[in-house]
């Protein structure tokens, strides 16, 4: 961070995530950062974005940030309210949703995600995490997956302790072999920059750093030998409009 930046690294992360959501794409949105990013996108460059929440709403248009995944505002502003089984069976499973957003307690070199347990003994975990929720099938069925997560060595690991949701498996072709339909994680947005899977190896590679972040900082924050794309770019800093919308939303 340079001294005269007037935004936080979390704000940069939210705005970078919002920018990745364009047009009238259907987004499966979890609470927290994904919901913030989707709602910033809807108020700035992507007014036709369709927000789908696993609590059972299609096309929610909240005028404030929902406090939880089941906030009443989501049902009140939705095009359709449906049951939770219907969300998963009629809308997610057949591949009708373009983008799924996921967080991660651990994320590995091949974009696999752990939100279940830390430690290598499932029965006696070092830390018990919330579990899978909708993530395994979001990771399997959405057109593509964006992961939004803060980058550090605790989170960015060589191999996750527990595969809650499959990213790119261990090698190219693993998703196809498993019958997973979507493209998997195509974008990992962090507080330091952006990673994308290498088209050949599927290994997450640094393709973008946020303003003021060095490649060395990103490598320090990564638990594997992070590759850097030859055409690495620097993220455009947040515009005044983006920051204003984000802050208005998160203050409300």
């Amino acid at each position: 961070m340079t001294a005269h930046q007037d935004y936080t690294s979390d704000e940069m992360m939210s705005i970078a995530a919002a920018r990745a959501l364009t047009g009238d794409r259907r987004c499966f949105v979890g609470i927290g950062l994904p919901s913030t990013a989707a709602n910033v996108a809807r108020r700035t460059h992507a007014p036709n974005l369709v927000l789908i929440y696993e609590s059972g709403t299609l096309g929610s248009k909240p005028d404030r940030l929902p406090a939880s995944i089941g906030d009443g505002i989501l049902a009140e502003t939705a095009d359709a309210v449906i049951s939770v089984p219907e969300v998963f069976n009629y809308w997610l499973q057949p591949g009708r949703i373009d983008v799924g957003f996921l967080g991660a307690a651990q994320l590995d070199r091949f974009g696999n995600i752990n939100t279940t347990v830390i430690g290598d003994d499932y029965a006696n975990p070092k830390v018990r995490l919330p579990g899978a929720g909708g993530a395994p099938e979001i990771a399997g069925s959405c057109g593509e997956v964006f992961v939004v997560v803060r980058q550090n060595r605790r989170t960015f690991v060589e191999q996750v302790d527990f595969v809650t949701s499959v990213g790119h498996g261990r090698a190219p072709g693993d998703r196809e072999r498993l019958g997973l339909r979507g493209a998997g994680p195509t974008l990992v947005i962090t507080d330091l920059g952006v990673l994308r899977p290498d088209p050949q190896t599927r290994e997450l590679t640094l393709t973008q750093v946020h303003p003021g972040v060095t490649v060395e900082q990103a490598r320090e924050a990564t638990g594997w030998d992070l590759r850097v794309a030859p055409d690495l770019v620097t993220t455009e800093p947040p515009t005044e409009r983006e920051l204003a919308v984000l802050r208005e939303l998160t203050a409300a």
Binding site: V84, L129, G179
Partner: protein, 282 residues
């Protein structure tokens, strides 16, 4: 036909030690008051089922009511972890907690199968995950027409399902709306059921996106105003987000939690609801 009874009578009649019990609710309409009554009546060895166990399950687990949890996501939504749940899993306190862990899609389909009188459900799920290695109730099944391999999960048929709804009429027909989650499926999958409601009315005025459960599909109905608090009931009251945040501190500490249980046991549900209402407004 559903019988209209008090909450304490309903829990006394329906929930037995060792039962499999599902208190369902997806952020909205979570049957907190019924969970509290189960703690008051000191049920033990329950197998608790829920897609999204949150603080009422943290309370039941911390109070020692449960020996097993079947679930897909356990947390304090928007706040963090369930500390009583974590302590039961990591340290076996106050009693060890066995877990059976699925994804949301898997749990939702297990209820659907249960509601449909089928022994199992089929879905595209779990492929390549470690859940499939650790959870015994995930199998592979082959499509008899295409040869494609899919996941199968067994039906959930709880002994008791408990949900909260906005209204019932005097005959026991139940009406809920807003986010309706998997509650219809949970009631239809269960052998017995209890619906707590905000109010009993003469006539159920139809509303958009309603789910109506006919009286003959429900065992008991109990009028429990604010029975979902600190969750919310659309059209009645908002979610008490402060309560969820305050729970974090209570839940982190065995002694603070012990005091919470002691206080709960000394009050009945009406008092809890009033206190909570006051707190919520403060």
């Amino acid at each position: 036909m559903a019988e209209l009874v008090s909450l304490s009578d309903a829990v006394a009649a329906l929930v037995r030690d060792g039962d499999t019990v599902a208190l369902e609710g997806f952020t909205h309409l979570i049957p907190h008051a019924a969970g509290h009554e189960i703690i008051r009546q000191r049920r033990r060895d329950l197998t608790l089922v829920r897609m999204t166990p949150d603080i009422v399950y943290d309370q039941l687990i911390g109070a020692g009511c449960a020996r097993k949890l079947i679930f897909s996501w356990g947390g304090n939504p928007g706040v963090g972890s369930l500390h009583r749940f974590r302590e039961a899993v990591q340290h076996g306190w106050p009693v060890p907690l066995e877990i059976e862990e699925h994804s949301h899609a898997g749990m939702a389909n297990r209820y659907v199968a249960g509601a449909s009188g089928l022994p199992f459900a089929v879905l595209r799920g779990y492929a390549g995950t470690d859940l499939a290695r650790h959870t015994g109730t995930i199998a592979e099944i082959t499509c008899p027409f295409t040869g494609e391999k899919l996941a199968a999960v067994p039906a959930l048929n709880p002994d008791v399902a408990i949900i909260h709804a906005q209204r019932a009429d005097r005959r026991g027909n139940v009406q809920l709306w807003g986010l309706v989650g998997v509650q219809k499926e949970a009631v239809l999958a269960a052998r017995r059921s209890l619906v707590t409601v905000e109010e009993i009315v003469d006539e159920l005025e139809p509303v958009p996106d309603q789910v109506v459960l006919p009286t003959w599909a429900v065992t008991y109905v109990a009028e429990v105003p604010r029975g979902a608090h600190p969750s919310y009931a659309q059209g009645y009251y908002e979610r008490d987000n402060d309560y969820y945040r305050r729970w974090d501190a209570i839940s982190r500490d065995r002694e603070a939690f012990g005091r919470w249980v002691a206080e709960l046991s000394e009050t009945d549900e009406a008092e809890v609801a009033v206190d909570a209402g006051t707190e919520g407004r403060a």
